[in-house]
């Protein structure tokens, strides 16, 4: 297998075998089938073959098509942007926070705006955690507060101001019509308008969140499916460390990662 020219493999190496399915808004029939075939051919698949056409009523037709993918990927050259940081265990995380900050790290979590899916943020924040990995509440050097569902950006920003936090953990699960992008952008804009953005670590997570998207939207890091609290805590320490490295020997002044009341 040539790692610089990787392609799908169904029956034989490099046969490109790919399964597709989609619905066309045309009535089922020979013309519809041919349209499906042409469509897949236009997308560059060789030998497109309609395995199944189903009349779905109301002039909708469902298709299952097989074709040979003609593209290849240089697997050797694939680079995935990710937040690169060492994974630490809880005692080490606590020790590092104590050493670097000299006080507990204050972290707020919230599922913002219309989103009411708290299971993800609960998994990260709450004692119980996820998949056997305890949440941030279990870290003695972290003061974790989970604000729950449907927290408006206004409320959240005012909490950052009044209660002072080092890090905000935002969850977004509903993504239809890109509502998550709208919500996340709104929050960053408001934090920036208040001059708070640079003073906090801003993290977002959810099933459709990637590091890439997070960066694009102005967040420090993005965490997707399967994240554990340990990842997030390690990342937080990594960021504290980074700060320390940039200003070595210089203990973090109160308020540097901390919203103050001014």
């Amino acid at each position: 297998m040539d790692p610089t020219r990787v392609m799908p493999y169904g029956d034989m190496p490099n046969d490109g075998a790919t399964q597709l399915s989609f619905t066309l808004p045309v009535p089922a029939g020979e013309e519809a089938k041919e349209a499906a075939r042409q469509l897949v051919a236009k997308m560059g698949f060789a030998e497109p073959s309609v395995a199944h056409m189903q009349d779905m009523g109301e002039s909708f037709s469902f298709f299952i098509v097989y074709g040979r993918c003609t593209a290849t990927v240089d697997y050797a050259a694939v680079r995935v942007p990710r937040a690169e940081f060492p994974l630490l265990d809880a005692p080490r995380i606590n020790a590092m926070i104590a050493k670097l900050l000299g006080r507990r790290l204050k972290v707020f979590g919230a599922c913002i705006e219309s989103d009411a899916h708290t299971v993800g943020i609960d998994a990260i924040m709450n004692m119980k955690g996820y998949d056997g990995d305890k949440g941030l509440e279990s870290y003695k050097e972290i003061e974790a507060l989970n604000l729950g569902a449907q927290v408006s950006c206004e409320d959240l920003v005012s909490k950052v101001v009044t209660e002072g936090v080092d890090a905000l953990l935002i969850s977004q699960v509903v993504t239809q019509r890109d509502v998550h992008v709208k919500n996340l952008t709104r929050l960053v804009d408001m934090l920036e308008a208040e001059g708070l953005r640079e003073r906090i670590i801003l993290i977002v997570g959810g099933p459709r969140i990637s590091q890439e998207l997070a960066k694009e939207l102005g967040y420090d890091a993005g965490f997707g499916p399967g994240t554990h609290a340990g990842h997030v805590a390690s990342y937080l320490v990594f960021r504290l460390q980074q700060h320390e490295d940039e200003a070595p020997g210089n203990p973090l002044p109160e308020g540097s990662f901390h919203g103050s009341h001014d």
């Binding site: 399915s21 989609f22 619905t23 189903q54 779905m56 009523g57 109301e58 909708f60 469902f62 705006e113 219309s114 989103d115 009411a116 708290t118 299971v119 609960d122 729950g148 569902a149 449907q150 509903v174 993504t175 239809q176 019509r177 509502v179 099933p207």
Partner: protein
């Protein structure tokens, strides 16, 4: 496939549920809310919005609430103004809108004098519902209805015309019930958005226009498919009673309606939504609507195996609340779900125990059986297999309303083909196993029976605890869905008002009188 269950225990559960409900009776019947009052205005026929797009019922009720007069009921104030100035309802509303009228500072005539001006409107309002109810019965007799388990699909595009087209396709494919999912945060809106036919996220706005458009589409599609198609929408949230009215008037057949859901999952204030629920269920009851409750959702946040009994406990409570509002068992679609982790050994065995238990506890209720959602993944094929076993569990345990599982549950709101494939698999499984349940018996004393008995026993234990601390405290302790809410928190609290002794509404009696006051009846089959 019958489970042997302890009848004493079932009776105990019903008694505890009655106790729990009774404990809240004073709060519930002694209070009204902004949305209850708006609902009455809607029943009286008040429609339209002001120039800012605020619905007139909101304008009028806010006006009275601001004037601290809600304790007497909006109907009184409106009637008072109508009586005194010989105005129509619309004219009164207009007066409020323009500022020409200040209802609460009017001279207060005696209720016996003013209330009769509403009689005609009230009766007219209910007539609209009567007519729809009759039309439903007529159409159901003419066309017939789907066979149980009835296939329930959802549409959720955010655009009612697209919803209608996709739903019509679904009906032609075999769906019996169609639900339009609501815009993501509509339950938190304290008004019913007018003319919002497009633009919803994760669902379409629920309002009269959209109900009408869908009703028409489903009547047409049903005629084509040769059956009466049931239409579903949601009256949970801050506008429960209002949406109940809209649903009743536009002939919806099923309404999701559950305070517990609102409290727990939407952080709506307890008092607000309990009061709203009481009135909305009276309306649902009157309209012949089937309600659906949301206990199934508990298993998405709590452990889906360990918390099985919380679903059952809540169902008993919800049944009691429903009966108190005058709903009949045949209208109480309690929710439960197939949510056990598919990686758990014997998950199907436990699911069948649970599903059969619910079916036997509420034999006359059209229970709503929810598909796997929590443990669905991006692996749509695996998901399709999970849904296949769900379909099988449903037909084997004799469920009523069968929500179709979508293989793309973890990814997006249903696409056209997802819905088609779901219907296809369910029809296949229901046919393949059509008579199978009759041919199999559950081993007495075996694991299925023992599991069902344990869930029931745990539910009774939980009901005891709830009865002893009260429902609101139980919720505060996170006993349902592992989510805690406190009685003074949540949205909409400010819309709750204690009724004055001279509170007036023409509807409470009118609604209750329907069909020989089923109100407050027992579960008739009831083992108690």
């Amino acid at each position: 496939m019958q489970l042997r269950l302890d009848r004493e225990r079932i009776a105990a559960a019903r008694e505890l549920a009655a106790e729990i409900a009774a404990d809240l009776d004073e709060l519930i019947t002694g209070s009204t809310t902004t949305s209850v009052e708006r609902a009455y205005l809607r029943l009286l026929g008040l429609e339209g919005t002001d120039e800012h797009g605020v619905p007139l019922p909101n304008v009028v009720v806010k006006h009275i609430h601001d004037g601290d007069g809600l304790g007497r009921g909006v109907c009184y104030w409106v009637a008072n103004a109508m009586y005194r100035h010989d105005l129509s309802l619309d004219e009164v509303a207009e007066g409020v809108e323009t500022g020409a009228l200040d209802l609460v500072s009017e001279k207060e005539e005696a209720p016996e004098k003013v209330m009769p001006v509403l009689d005609e409107l009230a009766v007219l309002g209910l007539k609209k519902i009567d007519k729809q109810r009759e039309k439903r019965e007529r159409l159901q007799n003419e066309l017939g209805v789907g066979k149980e388990p009835q296939l329930y699909i959802i549409v959720a595009t955010g655009d009612v015309f697209i919803d209608a087209s996709q739903a019509r396709a679904g009906v032609l494919q075999g769906a019996d019930i169609v639900a339009v999912i609501r815009h993501t945060a509509q339950s938190l809106l304290d008004f019913v958005p007018f003319s919002a036919v497009t633009g919803g996220v994760g669902g379409t706005y629920a309002n009269g226009e959209n109900f009408r458009i869908m009703r028409q589409a489903m009547d047409d599609a049903g005629r084509e498919a040769g059956k009466y198609v049931m239409l579903t929408n949601y009256c949970s949230g801050l506008c429960m009673p209002e949406i109940a009215v809209l649903g009743a008037v536009e002939r919806l057949d099923v309404m999701l309606n559950d305070s517990m859901y609102g409290i727990i999952f939407r952080d709506i204030n307890m008092r607000r939504t309990l009061v709203d629920q009481y009135v909305s269920r009276m309306i649902n009851g009157y309209a012949g609507v089937i309600i659906n409750t949301g206990e199934d959702n508990y298993l998405t946040t709590a452990d889906s195996f360990e918390a099985a009994h919380t679903v059952v406990a809540s169902q008993f409570i919800n049944e009691r609340f429903a009966l108190e509002s005058g709903l009949k068992e045949e209208q109480i679609g309690l929710g439960h779900a197939f949510e056990i982790d598919p990686r758990k050994k014997n998950s199907l065995l436990y699911e069948m125990a649970q599903a059969r238990l619910v079916r036997q506890l509420f034999p006359r209720s059209p229970v709503k059986y929810m598909p796997p959602t929590k443990y669905m993944t991006g692996n749509i094929f695996k998901g399709y297999a999970q849904n296949t076993l769900f379909n099988l569990a449903s037909v084997l345990t004799g469920q009523s309303i069968h929500l179709l599982g979508m293989m793309t549950e973890a990814l997006h709101t249903p696409h056209l083909q997802d819905r088609y494939l779901a219907i296809e698999s369910a029809r296949y499984v229901f046919d393949a196993a059509d008579g199978l349940a009759k041919e199999l018996s559950i081993k007495p004393g075996g694991r299925i029976e023992r599991r069902a008995q344990k869930v029931l026993a745990d539910a009774v234990k939980m009901l005891e605890e709830v009865a002893s601390v009260g429902l609101m405290e139980a919720i505060s302790r996170g006993m349902f869905a592992d989510i805690a809410r406190n009685p003074d928190g949540g949205k909409g609290q400010d819309g709750v008002v204690v009724k004055e002794p001279d509170y007036c509404s023409p509807f409470i009696d009118l609604l209750r009188d329907k069909e020989g006051s089923a109100h407050g009846s027992d579960a008739s089959h009831a083992i108690r």
